[in-house]
């Protein structure tokens, strides 16, 4: 009889339970602690976003910031905006600034997850040589051999596997001569991972400059160049995202 009595006491299940279930203490299908967890889920970490799946494969971008770089090499006003853009980018890479940063182990990740103050690996502007804008402040634009700087998007915690490097190819009949700086166009592993703009405020991402050594015949002809991130697990062949691990740009130098 006790059993049946117990049964009677227990309120019948009804649709109202969806809102508040007195037996389990569930409110809208969750207990108080479950609600607590839910609420805490919405509190965010200062340094790492909760989800990064959408930026798992970083994009590539070029400087100067333009899809089509077209200028007259004999008219400086024509390409001033480009070289200004490059100077701006490289401001943070000035040797004077970079000398304050640490030298890191080449070819190895600079992991410092637990350090409270994250060190920044040195990337001196001078490493870009002819494309550093130091000796030739026109980045080769005046000569008709423009330097294009390629950078990979920053993604917190990203550690590219293998030995990532940039490989540019000209789309066209005649092969185009190109010179990479630093040589081998490597994005050294020492610059990874990135710890975010709060913890890693002075971080600079590695750059690769590519100088298009245009010959006289190439003048006045539009050159389409595609640069890809290679030697790593990161994707560079997404159908829809034309900037994921790759970048396409056009250059036309006139006289």
């Amino acid at each position: 009889t006790e059993l049946t009595e117990n049964k009677k006491e227990e309120p019948k299940e009804s649709w109202k339970d969806c809102i508040y279930n007195p037996r389990t203490g569930e409110f809208m299908g969750r207990t108080a602690s479950s609600w607590g967890e839910t609420v805490s889920m919405f509190t965010l970490d200062d340094n790492v976003p909760r989800y990064q799946d959408r930026v798992a494969n970083p994009g590539l971008v070029i400087r100067p910031h333009a899809a089509e770089i077209s200028f007259n090499r004999s008219d400086p006003t024509n390409y001033n905006q480009y070289i200004q853009n490059l100077h701006n980018l490289l401001q943070r890479y000035n040797d004077s600034i970079q000398e304050r940063n640490d030298l890191c182990m080449v070819g190895e990740y600079t992991e410092q997850d637990n350090e409270p103050i994250k060190k920044v690996c040195q990337f001196k502007r001078s490493m870009l040589r002819q494309c550093s804008g130091l000796r030739d402040s026109s980045f080769g634009f005046a000569e008709g051999k423009p330097c294009i700087i390629i950078k990979m998007n920053r993604v917190i915690g990203l550690k590219p596997q293998g030995d990532p490097y940039i490989n540019c190819t000209a789309k066209g009949d005649s092969p185009l001569r190109m010179q990479y700086y630093p040589s081998e166009a490597r994005l050294d592993k020492m610059f990874f991972p990135y710890y975010g703009n709060k913890a890693h405020a002075d971080y600079v991402q590695p750059l690769v400059a590519v100088q298009l050594l245009l010959s006289r015949e190439d003048l006045n002809v539009e050159q389409t160049v595609e640069c890809k991130l290679e030697g790593t697990n990161l994707r560079n062949d997404d159908d829809r995202d034309k900037f994921m691990g790759r970048v396409v740009f056009r250059v036309k130098v006139s006289e």
Binding site: W15, R54, G59, V61, V155
Partner: protein
């Protein structure tokens, strides 16, 4: 509130027709604001003409069509503008030939009584008057109707949206290398939505009215005419005025004819007047009224027997039938109330959409957006503002109701008419049973000089008189024997009152009464074998039968008779009192008169009963009773008693009207008073005059709340006078009206803002049926024409279906409100994203495609499911809707949907949006003002709040994930919305969750949302992305908030009737 009653016909126990018009209108001036609800259950009942079922005692006396003779000239009408023409048709029939002598008629038409017309004359007349055929009115071509559907309602807005989409795409295609297909696809989708909705409505509306065809079916094909002395059969279309024609039994009359000679000719005018008994025709003018005189036969009526010869006086559209046909098919019918409501609501929504669209277009231009961007914003605002699926939802809801009504034998021809009965404030009907059960029952008896109440309980527990009284037994014997009704076979297990009877209503009532109180009538009849019988006929007004007696030793015959009380009394010289035969003296006669008056005054149908034991010496055993040539005594009988019958009121109609015979307007008034149509204490002008003993002319008409209008007076009334009567009297009785007058009454009521329903079955009812807001035709007894003219057909002729119709109509109106409130709510979370996108420059939170997914996808089933919601309270106790105040969509509904619930929903959606962006790295602070960079395709290193950099495509995926989450959030908050929309006043806990369709709808919309989010390929097809499970819960608190908020609102609403909350939020 106005009641009007009309009655025609003469003599006792004849069929009655009353009009009772009971209308409830809140008039704009307080002076007339005296709505008083007498019939709670049937407050919808207004004008009511009741025609009692034909009884054995019923001389079929039907609609009398009053006519005037003043318009003597039958000049062919010229088209002087449609209105004038119609007004003309609404006047009475201008036939005068029946009063002329045959010679005069011949002279008028240049015809000869023997030779007929000459062929030349006939040809001349044919050219002058045109063929003898009904001309159909001009109709709107189908493609015009289709275009109206394609460009009506929201379609214009959506077309604008679609055209803007194509325009935007064209600009993009011209200026960009790789134009995004979004605008093209959206344009195609919008076009498809408009076209599909247009087709949908077109096919719903394509109930091509076949009124004229149904009239044409009545027209005969051939006619036998005499021209130049020779009988020729010609095509009926070639018959002209003046033609001498011959008709015989079985023919249809090919035109309106003046009879010149007839041999036993009888015509059946039922198709025209509803009068069911054939009437004889002769050359003599018997009545001033052309419709009543015997020397006119009408186009399309049937000659049932005999032969007749006549001169054609009217052909084609000028005939009585032609006038009705032209009038009916030419009548402009107004929009149905629900169509007006929907139009009103479309205006509101369109207004909001255009206002917001234009404002933000201008704002966008001022803020420096490009034209293209501004156009795209405009598209977004239009798409978000228009509830694309709503019109389809409304149609589906109405269809569902129509189907439900069709199951109850109430066929709705015009979908929108489904709701009309619910808002009806006036019913004009010519049938009993609207208010009564249409089941005659014995109510009272008078014998032994006393009125007794009949006991109709199954177990005879309510007996109020001594059943052993000899008089009663005699009365029961007469009622049982002089009765041709009998129970249908195989019903012994059923309670007596529920058994089916073969026989007319009065006899059935008597049979059941006797069976209940005295046991088997069949056994009684077996004991008293019937030897002769004279069935009822209208001249005698009695029915008699002769039986053997129960006692085998008694060889006398028993003669029993029943009939009209005064006729029976005339044949009686004695009366049975306390079982003893007493001579009929003045005192007893007066007692009889009093009882008769009293029962008649109760509105009951009274029958008298008498008997006599025929003396054996004159009528020995085996006497051959000749019923044709009566060879036995039918007077000097012994009066036994009276029995009176009523048609009891419907249970659903508590203060039921008891419809009883009453033949004069005076009787009609008595009935009206008896049944509460003219309520107690209310007097007519005549009553006041009688009470104060002053002439009628000295009474201030304003003092009289009740009024009796005679049909003959009605036709002399001007429109203003008519309005005056309708407005200044709360209770009006109309008596004796013609079809034209019926139409005038309908128009009068409509002019004063009433929504009028008309029922009818005859051809002559069709103008009123057509003109009424809702015409109701009879499925079995109704003529084809009336069915075509009506919006609704009662398949089983059962008026109970009208009550069903009223109930369903009111319910669907309430439920449509709920459905619209539900659908409109989601407009706010659809519009606000655009507004914030433009004003604070955040990435777009909700795209146009996802908006369409809500409007045409997830919102549909729940919105439709609200049509299945049961009523919150007794909707039959409510007053009929006041079309001026009680709108389908009013500002309170908009306030709740847009201003309150919609806002909470928008909060929920934005919350999900900000959560997703924040969790992906874009904190709200970063988002404000980010739009230009965000939507810039060449920016592929956009920095988020954490310093990460995003390509265009990467952040777009996050944006589309936000759209999906916003969409899912709307689904989640719409869960709560559909639950709160279930009720407008009650708590959901009172209403319960018994609506299975609604529960299905909840699961369906959730499943659809999940499908759209998770189905592979959706990222390409609709740009919807899978959500992380936690994102589904973002809107849960808002959903809960909506529920609590609205429950509190409704609680306050119930606690504080008429208070602020109700005034501001009860929609």
């Amino acid at each position: 509130m106005i009641y009007k009653i009309q009655a025609t016909s003469q003599g006792h126990f004849t069929r009655v027709q009353h009009y009772l018009l009971y209308s409830a209108r809140q008039k704009p001036h307080g002076e007339f604001n005296k709505a008083r609800w007498l019939y709670f259950g049937c407050s919808q009942l207004l004008v009511h003409t009741v025609r009692m079922p034909d009884s054995t005692y019923g001389r079929s006396d039907s609609y009398r069509v009053a006519t005037t003779q003043d318009k003597a000239d039958r000049s062919p009408k010229k088209k002087k503008g449609g209105t004038k023409d119609m007004d003309d048709l609404k006047k009475e029939v201008p036939i005068t030939e029946h009063k002329m002598s045959i010679e005069e008629v011949c002279r008028k038409f240049n015809t000869d009584i023997v030779q007929g017309l000459t062929n030349a004359k006939a040809a001349e007349y044919l050219i002058r008057d045109g063929p003898n055929a009904l001309t159909p009115p001009p109709t709107t071509p189908e493609w015009v109707k289709f275009c109206r559907q394609l460009f009506g309602g929201f379609s214009i807005l959506l077309w604008t949206g679609a055209i803007l989409c194509f325009l935007a795409y064209a600009i993009q295609a011209a200026t960009e290398d790789e134009p995004a297909g979004d605008n093209l696809y959206l344009g195609i989708v919008l076009t498809a939505v408009v076209v599909i909705t247009g087709c949908f409505s077109y096919f719903q509306e394509a109930k091509s009215s076949k009124i004229m065809e149904s009239f044409k079916n009545m027209v005969p094909q051939q006619a036998l005419v005499i021209r130049e002395g020779e009988k020729v059969t010609i095509n009926a279309e070639e018959v002209v005025g003046g033609d001498l024609i011959e008709v015989k039994g079985g023919d249809r009359i090919p035109a309106d004819i003046r009879v010149v000679s007839a041999h036993g000719c009888k015509v059946d005018n039922s198709s025209l007047t509803g009068e069911s008994e054939p009437q004889s025709r002769s050359p003599d003018c018997t009545h001033d009224n052309p419709l009543e005189t015997r020397n006119v036969a009408f186009f399309s009526t049937n000659c049932v027997e005999g032969t007749a010869r006549g001169i054609v006086i009217c052909t084609g559209d000028r005939t009585v039938m032609g006038r009705i046909a032209t009038l009916t098919s030419g009548l402009e019918t107004g929009k149905t109330p629900i169509a007006k409501e929907i139009e009103h609501f479309i205006h509101i929504i369109t207004g909001v959409a255009v206002f917001l669209g234009v404002t933000f277009f201008i704002l966008a231009i001022i803020l420096g957006y490009s034209w293209l961007e501004a156009v795209i914003f405009l598209i977004g605002i239009i798409v978000a503002n228009v509830p694309e699926g709503l019109l389809a939802t409304v149609t589906v809801c109405l269809t569902l109701t129509a189907k439900r009504m069709a199951k109850k034998n109430c066929l709705v021809k015009n979908l929108e008419a489904v709701e009309t009965l619910g808002s009806t404030s006036t019913i004009c009907s010519d049938k009993t049973g609207t208010l009564t059960q249409n089941r005659m029952t014995v109510a009272h008896m008078w014998f032994d000089n006393q009125i007794h109440e009949a006991d109709t309980t199954e177990d005879q527990s309510g007996a109020s008189f001594d059943k052993s009284s000899v008089t009663w037994l005699s009365l029961a014997r007469v009622a049982g024997l002089c009765n041709r009704a009998q129970f249908k076979a195989g019903q012994d297990s059923l309670p007596i009152l529920k058994r089916d009877v073969a026989g007319d209503a009065s006899e059935s009532a008597l049979l059941k009464c006797i069976e209940l109180s005295c046991g088997s009538v069949r056994a009684m009849r077996d004991r008293n074998k019937k030897v002769a019988e004279i069935p009822f006929n209208s001249t005698n007004k009695y029915q008699l039968s002769v039986h053997e007696t129960e006692d085998p030793n008694d060889n006398r015959y028993l003669l029993v008779m029943k009939g009209a009380p005064e006729r029976i009394l005339d044949r009686c010289t004695t009366i049975l009192v306390q079982g003893k035969e007493q001579p009929m003296d003045e005192e007893l006669k007066e007692a009889f008169q009093n009882a008769y008056m009293e029962l008649g005054g109760l509105g009951e149908r009274v029958l008298g009963f008498c008997h006599v034991l025929l003396p054996e010496d004159q009528y020995p055993k085996g006497f051959a009773f000749d019923t044709e040539d009566v060879n036995f005594q039918t007077d000097n009988l012994c009066f036994v008693g009276l029995m009176s019958m009523i048609d009891p009121p419907r249970a659903a109609v508590p203060d039921a009207v008891i419809m009883v015979t009453g033949d004069h307007p005076i009787t009609a008034k008595a009935i009206a008073k008896g049944v509460g149509i003219i309520s107690e204490g209310n007097e007519t002008v005549e009553d006041i005059a009688a009470r104060l003993n002053i002439p009628v002319s000295q009474v201030n008409p304003r003092d009289a709340k009740a009024c009796v209008v005679h049909g003959t007076d009605l036709k002399d009334l001007s429109q203003d006078q008519m309005d005056d009567i309708l407005r200044n009297h709360t209770e009006i009785v109309f008596a004796r009206t013609s079809p034209q007058q019926k139409l005038i009454i309908v128009e009068g009521c409509q002019r004063l803002g009433a929504i009028v329903a008309v029922t009818g079955d005859g051809v002559n009812d069709s103008p009123a049926l057509k003109k009424a807001d809702i015409g109701v035709a009879m499925g079995i007894s109704g003529s084809d024409v009336s069915k075509q003219a009506a919006d609704m057909i009662l398949l089983d002729d059962n008026f109970a279906s009208i009550v069903t119709g009223v109930e369903e109509g009111r319910l669907i109106f309430d439920n449509l409100k709920k459905s619209i409130a539900y659908t409109l709510t989601s407009n706010i979370p659809e519009i606000t994203p655009f507004l914030f996108f433009i004003i604070v420059n955040i990435p777009l939170p909700l795209g146009t495609i996802t908006i369409l997914c809500i409007d045409l996808g997830t919102d549909m089933v729940p919105a439709i499911s609200l049509a299945y919601e049961t009523a919150e309270s007794d909707i039959m106790k409510r007053q009929p809707r006041n079309p001026a105040r009680d709108k389908l969509v009013n500002e309170r509904l908009i306030s709740i949907a847009y201003g309150q619930i919609g806002m909470i929903q928008a909060l929920g959606g934005f919350f999900a949006y900000f959560v997703i962006l924040a969790e992906n790295g874009f904190l709200p602070s970063r988002l404000v003002g980010i739009r230009l960079n965000w939507d810039d395709r060449s920016t592929n290193d956009l920095e988020d709040s954490y310093g990460q950099q995003w390509t265009y495509e990467q952040r777009k995926i996050v944006e589309f994930t936000c759209h999906t989450a916003f969409f899912v959030s709307i689904v989640v908050v719409q869960w709560a919305d559909v639950i709160i929309c279930k009720t407008r006043r009650n708590s959901v806990f009172q209403q319960g969750m018994r609506n299975k369709i609604l529960i299905f709808g909840l699961f369906e919309e959730t499943a659809l949302a999940a499908f759209l989010s998770y189905c592979p390929g959706m990222d390409v097809a609709l740009r919807m992305y899978p959500l992380k499970p936690s994102w589904w819960f973002c809107a849960f608190p808002y959903s809960f908030l909506i529920f609590v908020y609205d429950e509190i609102r409704k609680l306050l609403l119930r606690r504080n009737p008429g208070g602020w909350v109700e005034r501001e939020t009860y929609y």
